[in-house]
Amino acid sequence: MPVPDFSPGEVLTAAAMDSIGLWLVKTQTVGTTVSSVTVTGAFSADYDNYLITYNGIAGSANTVLRLTLGSTSSQYYYGFIYQSLGSATINGLQGQNQASWFYAVPSTTNETAGSIELWNPFLTKRTSVRSNHTEFVTTGAVGQFVGYLNNTTSYTAFTLTPNAGTITNGTIRVYGYRN
């Protein structure tokens, strides 16, 4: 049974299903002109590590979506390496003990798409994060965001909050990497 090329009517064994590495946990549609969106039930004991994708989120302003876990508003550490389109210069920003992972997700008036990876959010261990930051702006920034949350709290939810204005539309999907 070549995975993942199953045949119609084929009996799927536990071994075949267990070999699937990525499982959809949740799909969340973003509403209209909201100042934040919280996705609950995203993390659980089922998975240690997660992939979050977002598509079609349109901001009322060109800004960022602050990423936070649970109700935690401190101890976010990060580095952000980026290049502004039209410039050859590589820039860096960093944050220590911040209130969010500030640059993890861009928000522009053009609909934004990208992904976030999280390791350990449900475990009582420090959580690390990596995301691609791609602004859909001709002179916008593109770069890689990495960081960690310096506590050992277990989380089940995350929130995206525009630093200014509101967001409308789009889909957020949460996937779990099979342990």
Partner: protein
């Protein structure tokens, strides 16, 4: 002036006074200038 909406899963509602105060305390404004890092 009405307060902005907050979304928790599929529920979208207007923020409470306390939630709005907390949001403003973070520096949030309704009308943002271009705050993308390319302007940093």
């Amino acid at each position: 002036m009405s307060k902005p909406n907050i979304q928790i899963d599929d529920l979208v509602r207007e923020m409470t006074d306390e939630e709005y105060a907390d949001l403003l305390a973070t520096g949030w404004t309704l009308e943002g200038t271009d705050e993308t890092p390319s302007d940093s």
